[in-house]
């Protein structure tokens, strides 16, 4: 986990596992693309390690997404929840 000099360590949630599955990437492949060890991708997915800004940007570059789409201070809702929204009922 990234060191914090002072203050409470706030959680950083991520969607790496879901995005990786969506793109058909193994941990080893993603690790090679962002130049870390596969164990570090596993640690990120489990929340055992919070990435540096540099690593976060490199991961986002692989998925072609902005940082806020991959990392968040709050837990992500399942991606499937955003796929379909029922049409609003007519009055």
């Amino acid at each position: 986990m990234s060191p914090v000099r002072r203050g409470e360590t706030l959680p950083i949630y991520n969607r790496i596992r879901v995005l990786r599955a969506d793109r058909g990437l193994s941990r080893s492949q993603l690790a090679a693309l962002v130049e870390v060890n596969p164990q570090t991708i596993g640690a990120l997915e489990r929340g055992d390690h919070y990435p540096s800004l540099d690593l976060a940007f490199r991961i986002c570059d692989v998925f072609g997404l902005p940082v806020e789409a991959v990392f968040s201070r709050t837990e992500f809702a399942p991606l499937s929840a955003g796929l379909h929204r029922p049409a609003p009922k007519e009055a």
Partner: protein, 178 residues
């Protein structure tokens, strides 16, 4: 590519050698690359180092106790080499061979090792300072025992980062190797 200075060339060469060695040794002792086995090696190493402290302290009272260092050193070399192989030498890996998580863990472990070294080395230092001004103490035996204690302290503190990293490292997740 900009010209590298001496330090950068040294670091690059060291990293290349480390990665070559790591690749060569990656298949060694395959059945010992589990957390349980790494922890077993760590415990054995801790016991050997503890015995070194006892043996070196005992030399003040029984000079022949120094002979215990011979078998202890033998067991130490085997255990330490095995632990380094199965934990991929993360504790003394060059910076460029590690990623940010590994550097962070290694730095924490090294910091603990340095702190332990400072405390342990203070013991023979104080013993020598106090003993040198006390007539009832055998100064020759004290110097010999303090030297051995310092050696054991440096060994223990030097091994501690590798022991900590070997202890905390989880088993490899099969998904990591897909």
């Amino acid at each position: 590519m900009p010209a590298q200075n001496l330090l950068e060339r040294y670091e690059a060469r060291r990293t290349r050698r480390f990665l070559d060695n790591q690749e060569r040794m990656s298949g060694w002792l395959p059945t010992w690359r589990t957390r349980a086995r790494r922890r077993l090696l760590t415990v054995i190493l801790a016991v050997v180092l503890a015995c070194m402290f006892v043996a070196t302290t005992a030399t003040y009272f029984v000079p022949l106790a120094a002979l215990a260092w011979l078998p202890l050193t033998l067991v130490f070399l085997v255990t330490w080499t095995s632990l380094q192989i199965v934990s991929s030498r993360l504790s003394d890996a060059p910076r460029h061979a590690l990623d940010e998580r590994e550097i962070s863990e290694r730095n924490s472990a090294r910091s603990i090792g340095l702190g332990v070294a400072q405390v342990l080395v203070m013991i023979p230092i104080l013993a020598l300072l106090l003993g040198s001004t006390t007539d009832s103490v055998d100064h020759q035996d004290l110097a010999y025992a303090a030297g051995g204690f310092t050696l054991a302290s440096i060994l223990f503190a030097g091994c501690l980062p590798a022991m900590i990293l070997a202890w905390i490292r989880p088993d490899d997740d099969p998904e990591d190797h897909l």
